[in-house]
């Protein structure tokens, strides 16, 4: 972990309310496709690697920057680093990827990218996060997986 915090005073936003569960969702006979809110609920509670705050509170992830196409098995998440030179961007992206990898059924193709125009190394980070071989290798790195597990621990 870095000794110096890059963004000392990030803007903090309110959390959204818990999702209300409808009667239809309680009904086991009604098909219940994955939706935007469900994916948001999975990742909004991830801890920021630098601050004792969640990705939701920092607006790193936002519900309307998630697209879910349940029928075509596609999930796309845009995340927004708090500052354009954030060196934690890859780590945050990896944490979101790992959380979704562990939570969603394997049929889903998940892509995690930086919100266009919000980071200096946007293309490089996106390419790395999209490379499943590099992600697989990174997840075999004991130190890195420990850090990621801390980020997604309480979630």
């Amino acid at each position: 972990m870095p000794t110096e915090i890059e963004n000392l005073n990030p803007s903090v936003y309110a959390k959204c309310k818990e999702r209300s569960v409808t009667d239809e969702e309680q009904n086991e006979d009604v098909p219940d496709p994955f939706d935007q809110r469900e994916v948001f609920d999975l990742i909004r509670v991830i801890n920021d690697p630098e601050h004792p705050l969640t990705l939701e509170e920092l607006h790193v992830v936002q519900q309307d920057l998630i697209t879910v196409d349940d029928a075509n098995n596609e999930v796309k998440v845009y995340f927004t680093p708090t500052i354009p030179h954030c060196s934690m961007a890859t780590l945050i992206g990896l944490s979101i990827r790992v959380k979704l990898l562990r939570s969603l059924p394997p049929r889903f193709k998940v892509s995690v990218e930086i919100t266009p125009g919000t980071h200096a190394s946007e293309k490089a980070v996106n390419k790395q996060l999209a490379d499943k071989e590099r992600v697989a290798a990174a997840l075999e790195n004991a130190h890195l997986i420990e850090v990621i597990n801390q980020c997604i621990a309480s979630s």
Binding site: P106, R107, K109, K127, E133, R134, A136, A137, E140
Partner: protein
């Protein structure tokens, strides 16, 4: 349109299967994956069964396996930064040599046509060429640093000691030994793909190379040797490779592997959209402007990404695929 028939679905590995390779005799194959084991399969009656499990060679994911042309040796490339050489000299498969030198994950390994050279590549951006010096002895003949990023794949020319490598830097490099000072050097850099090049495969003659990429395209490259009849300039008297065909609009995600059948000339691709596709060169195709048609798409060939496809070297139309879904599938292509 052709048809792809699923003949066998094989299970055994735990988790993602990264690679599979046919034995040169076509009656056995090896597979490997994130469970850090290698399985060797062969026919028992009409079923493929695991004959051997090699589990003590690597401490991390095994990314690729490759048989030597004589079929006596199996090489395995691992994220643990080593390449292991296995042989059956004493009856059972044993690891007889471990090649160390790469700084981190080894991504691919390939034997030259005679089996006297071995190439490996790594995320450390280098390509290494090893000389097979004795039974279990390998000497590093060259460390090539022509790529600027992670090197994903190495493949030898089928008729000459020419090596090709594909990279995260979006390029393919071609290497040859300089006959004057016997130093290996990069003689050509092939640029046209707009993202990571995952796979490369030569045709039977070695005059053409097919490549597949994260940019969702397949490209065909043609070699023009010095003195070629098309009068294409060949600076420094080196063979020039030109992209003569791009197949786009067929794949909807990253194309992870490509194999050019040495028997039939068919090209097969493994894609992140779970499909296997087969392309055939058109009858009226030409050398300098070839055209290829999609002759088969097998949607949902696997339940997840397809990582490897490879043609049986002896039985025309027989195909092996491996996937993130943890299965190996054997297919038969019928035209």
């Amino acid at each position: 349109m052709g048809k792809l028939e699923e003949i066998h679905v094989l299970q055994g590995h735990k988790g993602r299967i990264w690679s599979g390779a046919w034995h040169p005799r076509g009656n056995a194959f090896a597979t490997c994956g994130e469970d850090k084991t290698i399985r060797i399969w062969s026919m028992d009656g009409s079923e493929w069964i695991t004959k051997t499990i090699l589990s003590d060679g690597h401490t991390r994911t095994i990314r690729e396996v490759a048989w030597s042309p004589c079929g006596q040796y199996l090489a395995s490339a691992s994220f643990d930064a080593t390449t292991a050489i296995w042989s059956k000299t004493s009856g059972e498969f044993e690891c007889n040599a471990t090649l160390e030198g790469h700084e981190n994950e080894v991504k691919s390994v390939s034997w030259s046509r005679t089996g006297s050279l071995l190439a490996t590549c790594s995320r450390d951006k280098s390509v290494w060429i090893w000389e097979v010096a004795g039974d279990d002895e390998f000497e590093c003949a060259a460390v090539l640093n022509a790529h600027t990023q992670d090197v994903k794949k190495v493949a030898w020319h089928p008729r000459q000691d020419i090596l090709a490598s594909a990279s995260y830097d979006n390029t393919i490099n071609i290497y040859k030994e300089n006959t004057l000072d016997s130093d290996w050097e990069c003689t050509a850099t092939l640029t046209s793909h707009s993202s990571t090049v995952w796979g490369i495969s030569f045709d039977a003659t070695g005059n053409r190379l097919a490549s597949c990429s994260d940019d969702k395209t397949v490209k065909i490259w043609q070699a023009y040797e010095p003195g070629n009849e098309e009068n294409i300039p060949t600076p420094d008297n080196q063979t020039v490779w030109k992209c003569v065909c791009t197949l786009s609009g067929f794949h909807s995600r990253s194309v992870y592997d490509i194999a050019w059948c040495k028997l039939t000339g068919l090209i097969v691709t493994a894609c992140g959209d779970d499909a296997i596709r087969i392309f055939k060169e058109d009858d009226n195709s030409s050398k300098n402007e070839p055209t290829f048609s999609l002759v088969c798409t097998m949607h949902k060939a696997h339940e997840q990404d397809v990582n490897t496809v490879t043609w049986n070297p002896v039985t025309p139309g027989q195909l092996l695929s491996t996937s993130d879904d943890g299965t190996i599938r054997i297919w038969k292509f019928i035209e």
